[in-house]
Amino acid sequence: MAGICLLWNIPNSLVAQDCSVIIRGQVLDESTGIPMEYAGVYIQETKQGVSADSLGYFKLEKVCSGRYHIQVSHIGCENENLYIHLTRDTFLYILLHHHAELLNEIAVHGSRNDNSTQIVNSISKEEISRESNKNFAELLEKIAGVSTIKNGSGIAKPVIHGLYGNRIAIVNNGLIQAGQQWGNDHAPEIDAFMVDHLTVVKGAGALAYGGNGLGGIILAENNPISPDPHLHGLVNYIHQSNGRGHTVNAQVQQHRSWASWRLSGTFKAMGDHKTPDYFLTNTGKKEKNLGFQLEKKWSDQWNSRFQYSLFTAQIGILRGSHIGNLSDLESAIGRPIPFFTKDQFSYQTESPRQSVRHHLVRLENKLFLKNDQVISINYGGQLNERKEFDVRRSGRSDLPALSLNQFSHFLEGIYNKAGNPGNLFKTGAQFNFIVNTNDPETGILPLIPNYQGVTASLFGILQQQKDKAQWEMGLRYDLKSINAVTISKTLPRTINRYNPLFHNLNLSIGNKLQLEPRVNLTTNLGYVIRSPEANELYSFGLHQGVSGLEEGNPDLRQEKSLKAIASLDALAFKKLFFQVVGYWQYINDYIYLQPQKEYRLTIRGAFPVFSYLQTDASIWGFDMMATSEWNKHLKSTAKISLVSGQDRTNHLPLVYIPPPQVQADLQYSFGPNGVGSNSYLSLQGKQVFKQNRLEAGQDLLETPGAYALFSLEGGTGVSFNHSLLKFSFQVENLFNTTYREYLNRLRYFADEPGINISLRVNYSF
């Protein structure tokens, strides 16, 4: 489903049930176009199989005409499933996702075929479903330059090139994922099982999506449902030893004459995680998710896609990390074992905990006009309900301490004109409306006020191919209004209204140059103006996460960012692929939270006041990745990422910048011995260095030391009766190492989880 299949019918006499049909073809790597030698091609119905030659060519003879499921496999690739109606001799070009790390295809402009000048990296469906017991954000850590900011193992959000939260947009099938992006303890509400493709756009130029993507954009996408009239599906089960977790996911899909549909459901339950020495009490999690997709082709000119998804989660937060004031924090820091640690494992989650529900509806309509013109009109609606429970007095622990409802409506119209390959013009108008409301059931003055946000946007993107160079230019304008109503902190409680209006502008220029065959240099320059969000402007209250009084600043100006990024992608000696990405970002009026010298006295003692201030900042770094295939069986990958951030006004390093990191994988494959039974064994190592750029006093505690982690993974599969059964295992933190992560808030209180053994079964039919 993931690749693209071109059918070239060679005229031949058409005879009913002709059993002398020949299928020939070539298997190629989608990202590089290199032939995939010795790929396996297998017809499920007839059990005929063949291996491709050293140039990727294959030939299957004496096939009867009819409808067939064909499966194509290759070491280190995702299996490709095709459904064809065979009537005569046929030639197939089959493209496999081989180097997912290098894929440069993606839908930055809406269609896989668009060859964009953006710098992107993606993760395949196979990798996603193998590790979807993890959080959505943790999956993205596979990509060099992406890390996560966490609040324990249950809550993770992605960091791209040192930026996160309000500065990153997560696009779920064309729709910007709404929710409470402002909180570091608010993870994106997406079930990774429902995603076929995860892509990270590292530049700032994916203008069709907008949404403040200063740092980058994450695209979660589903493939179109394959035009196969049979019922297909898969079942995943993952058991993990740490947290004694169970994850089950089932997906079914079918193409019928009236429409194509897909249904997916996920259930996850895990209990307390364990460090090498003790249980992390109250770190369990439950998740129940549902997804439905319907595709209807009304005519050759018009097709529609409807999507609904529901994400629900109950997440426990380490009991020992819940603190009332600064003295609590001081006594919790530096304890060998956190307060409230229990000797027994439990699946129960008690306060502090989060309960989240997210509904998403999307309707997409595509109209295909003459001369490769496409108009799409899309609607997206989201409802995000978030409740956070603290430990409270007199049974109030069952009352949320934070209760937010966010409604959003998104409407867009996009015009797309594709010319010759590499030429494209795209323009669109978008309208977004958000209502964020606090439920007064909390009995606490809200940290962020009720607000409405209205954004109207226009954008245009032009791509031109000139000889070996491809150019891209984009322009986007957003008119954004916020309508906030705050409650005063002084008595009598009064209501204040704010209604600022912002004009945001995004500009992007990109170029992709073919220096040599298979050597590309991609450069992108993006200018983004981001207006402050409601939390930065108007939040006020005690923020447990930062142990201080957080104070918004209604006078904040817009952030202005210029990001230059360049990527060199090359294939050398047919076996060595590498990508080097370098970037430099200059942000004026960078908004950040700064603890003030002033302490404010409350009944719980004195708290520092954290104010939103602005400064000028720079962020620079590089990501490097190299993949080498030593022979038919052995493949290795190495990744390095380094990022640095500096506050240029105050001459201080920026906080929350991920430490340098090096990763290496070595994979040995036993295939291909029959299609689908792609057995492998792989060893991974990761070295994370200490973040030692910070100066004394920039953090409550010294940053954690360097650590090395290893993991071992292996899998095999058997195919029978048109179905495939795969088994795999993974041992993470192989040596049960005790360590702490700089970007995890829980590092003040507890160690990271120890060894974790996952056993996985995947059945697809």
């Binding site: 020992g320 609590d328 006594s331 409230f340 007095r393 309208f431 309508n483 409650i487 902190k489 209006l501």
Partner: protein, 185 residues
């Protein structure tokens, strides 16, 4: 086609910007502790003195009001703590909530400087451990310093030294932490 789309978007936008949002419901902050009054009555007769902390608008907002008093040396006082929520009307008595959940609460009294004052517990929860709503304060020589009163929610009363009033191993969350300047003369 495009023109009309842009046009409809701008009309939509202009109408929505004009939309006025409803006033938010102000939450009923019944859990808040605005006031703590520590009343000390000399055990063998005399005038009672009070130490008090009032922050009527809760965290942030206006600064709290703190009142202290002078203590007499070599005197035993009977101490009573009163916790109120004066933001709601009538004022909520938080003592009742603390007593009800006595096992989950404990006050700690710590002195700094040369302050010659010791505080003993004078009440028990249902497990026979101290709470601290009632106490005995004993002064010795003339001195000055700080008396810090801390209320912990869900402390580990079985940890070493906790029932004796040592806060070090208590854990839990702090609901109250107030320091009073004290002079014994």
């Amino acid at each position: 086609m495009l023109k009309s789309f842009y046009l409809s978007i701008s009309v939509f936008l202009l109408t929505s910007i004009g939309c006025r949002q409803e006033d938010p419901v102000i939450p009923n902050e019944e859990e808040l502790i605005t006031t703590m009054i520590y009343t000390l009555t000399p055990a063998n007769g005399g005038t009672a003195v009070t130490f008090s902390f009032k922050d009527l608008d809760g965290d942030g907002g206006a600064a709290p009001e703190i009142k202290t008093a002078k203590l007499i040396k070599n005197t035993t006082y009977t101490g009573a703590l009163l916790l109120l929520n004066e933001l709601v009307s009538p004022a909520g008595n938080i003592n009742e909530e603390i007593e009800e959940e006595g096992q989950a609460h404990q006050f700690f009294f710590q002195t700094t400087g040369n302050l010659a004052v010791t505080v003993q517990y004078d009440d028990l929860d249902t497990h026979g451990n101290p709470i601290g709503l009632r106490s005995k304060l004993i002064t010795s020589s003339a001195s000055t310093g700080k008396l810090t009163i801390t209320l912990r929610h869900e402390p580990d009363k079985s940890a070493a030294g906790v029932v004796a009033g040592n806060i070090t191993n208590a854990g839990g969350e702090t609901d109250i932490e107030i320091s009073f300047n004290v002079e014994v003369e």
